[in-house]
């Protein structure tokens, strides 16, 4: 369970262009469910996602993960939590060009110090599960959008995180690939993972794979 209490987030605070992206968010995200944030551009979805995933700190308010307060942790602890608890799938996938699909998947696991063979086997298994085994040695820039997204998902899962965070995961995909993604989501839920995503794609937010839709506007929750 992830609990957000009175989360506020300002950018350029104290300057003329100060902007409050989040304005007092109180929310509890259930574990082992798929939760989607829906809202127009600028509603604060992505900012909220980065705060939940410890990629950014709130200006005020607290984030609790299970029983632990995580928003105020020193950076060295946050790094561990990011690495072990959260897996990220970014909107632009953020894969490293010049590296193969397999190398991209293995990359976040290198700092854990796990044996190289074990990492390779785990990464190959993930690519195989996502039907990309035949493309594992291909450079990521040679892959199609759907393939790149699956590499990004495999990379997010390589450290076996409890929570998968995906920012607009279907924004760059056509209908067929989006449906394929929703199938993957169902699989992740069946494994007992918590999935949190942002989207304004009706195909995602109206899907049966999504258990809860939280609507946002102007940095506040409007429903859900």
């Amino acid at each position: 369970m992830i609990e957000l209490k009175q989360i506020r987030k300002a950018f350029n605070q104290g300057r003329p262009n100060e902007y409050w992206a989040l304005n007092g968010i109180d929310l509890t995200i259930e574990a082992q469910k798929v939760t989607a944030f829906r809202g127009p551009s600028g509603s604060g979805k992505t900012t909220l996602l980065t705060i939940v995933g410890c990629l950014a700190r709130p200006t005020s308010g607290r984030v609790r993960l299970a029983e632990d307060e995580i928003s105020g942790l020193p950076e060295r602890f946050l790094t561990d939590i990011r690495r072990s608890t959260f897996g990220f799938v970014f909107q632009q996938f953020n894969l490293i060009k010049g590296l193969s699909a397999l190398e991209n998947v293995m990359l976040p696991a290198f700092p854990t110090g796990r044996p190289h063979r074990e990492l390779r086997e785990r990464s190959e298994a993930l690519l195989d599960r996502l039907k990309l085994a035949h493309r594992r040695e291909a450079r990521v820039e040679w892959l199609s959008g759907g393939e790149q997204q699956r590499v990004a998902i495999a990379r997010a899962l390589v450290n076996d995180p409890k929570v998968l965070i995906a920012d607009e995961p279907t924004a760059n995909l056509d209908t067929t690939l989006s449906r394929e993604f929703m199938g993957i989501l169902e699989g992740l839920h069946a494994e007992g993972r918590t999935v949190i995503l942002t989207s304004h794609d009706p195909l995602v937010v109206e899907s049966a794979a999504v258990h809860r839709v939280v609507s946002m506007r102007d940095g506040q929750l409007t429903e859900g």
């Binding site: 009175q6 005020s60 632990d68 307060e69 105020g72 942790l73 020193p74």
Partner: protein, 333 residues
């Protein structure tokens, strides 16, 4: 005289340390007064973000102070050739009344900085900033100590005059002179040797015991302080004599000179490191019951105690080596 590279480095290190701690003082007061880990207010989150930066900067200041003591002693020894009558660091430190107080203040800062670094180290190992208030209160206590050391150094270095005829170590550490140092130097070799080895054995034993059992932390720290004193007494009363192969040369500084192969550093570096580690063990003991530090404090304290035990063992071995390889015979069999 002040435009010597080492003096400039020392004054800069000391001055910057005082300036940085003075700049951090308002923040330290704010942390002491307003820190509330349970709160999610903007002010608290700001304090949490800034404390990491301030602690890192303060740790840097403290590490620099550890190195500064070595540079201070090295510089005092190196500058001896510039003063008439000076044979070693003693002559340089005697050029004006601020030399020895500056050295003692730098030594005090060394041990205080080491203790602060130990407290800071365990605090950063816990996720809930358990010692943040203690740490910043200690910084406020350290600030006047650092300021005093800076003022003494400044007065000392500004007061260095090449035309002053200074006194050499013979007048300060001879058995016939007056003062505490002379009285210690006048100790007979056998009781001094007994005191040295017994106290070092007790200190090494207690720190080793603490490292293995996690008990008797305060006793280990007290024994470390005693071992420091016993070693200085030992150097004055017999180690130096064996090193110089001269029955009346008690100076604890000449052993740092190139003529004696800088052998004093082999003795002093492990001694200061071991004592800093031993006192660090003591500095951590009050916090071993803090919930988030119950595993961290004993582990770090044990590592420090191990370092102290090893350091004292090394000091004893090096002193023994000096005694056994000397042509001087002080104790007849």
């Amino acid at each position: 005289m002040i435009f010597q590279p080492a003096i400039i480095a020392l004054l800069l290190a000391s001055g910057i340390a005082v300036a940085m701690l003075a700049a951090a003082a308002p923040f330290a007061l704010q942390v002491i007064r307003q820190w509330d880990i349970a709160s999610g207010t903007e002010r608290q989150l700001l304090l949490e973000r800034r404390t990491y930066l301030f602690s890192t900067l303060a740790a840097f200041v403290m590490v620099v102070q550890l190195v500064a003591l070595l540079l201070f002693v090295f510089n005092a020894d190196r500058m001896a050739e510039m003063f008439v009558g000076a044979m070693c660091a003693v002559g340089t430190l005697n050029v004006n009344p601020f030399g020895f107080p500056a050295l003692l203040a730098q030594m005090a800062v060394f041990f205080l900085a080491a203790a602060w670094l130990a407290v800071n180290h365990v605090d950063t190992r816990a996720p809930d900033y358990p010692l943040v208030r203690v740490k910043y209160a200690l910084l406020l206590i350290l600030l006047p100590a650092l300021a005093l050391a800076f003022v003494l150094q400044l007065k000392y270095f500004l007061g260095l005059r090449a035309d002053v005829i200074t006194s050499c170590c013979g007048s300060l550490f001879s058995g016939d002179a007056k003062g505490l140092a002379a009285e210690v130097a006048a100790l007979k070799p056998l009781p001094a040797m007994t005191l040295f080895y017994v106290v070092l054995a007790v200190a090494a034993g207690l720190t080793f015991f603490h490292a293995r059992t996690r008990r008797a932390g305060y006793a280990a720290a007290a024994a470390s302080a005693a071992a420091f004193v016993a070693t200085i007494v030992g150097v004055l009363s017999f180690v130096s004599l064996y090193l110089y192969e001269h029955p009346n040369h008690h100076c604890p500084f000449c052993i740092l000179k190139p003529e004696y192969g800088h052998q004093g550093y082999w003795l002093y570096v492990p001694l200061f490191a071991a004592t800093a580690a031993g006192l660090g063990t003591g500095a951590l003991q009050p916090f071993r019951q803090v919930a988030s530090l119950r595993e961290i404090v004993p582990a770090v304290s044990a590592r420090l105690a191990d370092l102290a035990a090893f350091g004292y063992l090394l000091v004893a071995l090096i002193a023994t080596y000096f005694v056994l390889h000397s042509n001087l015979i002080l104790i007849e069999h």
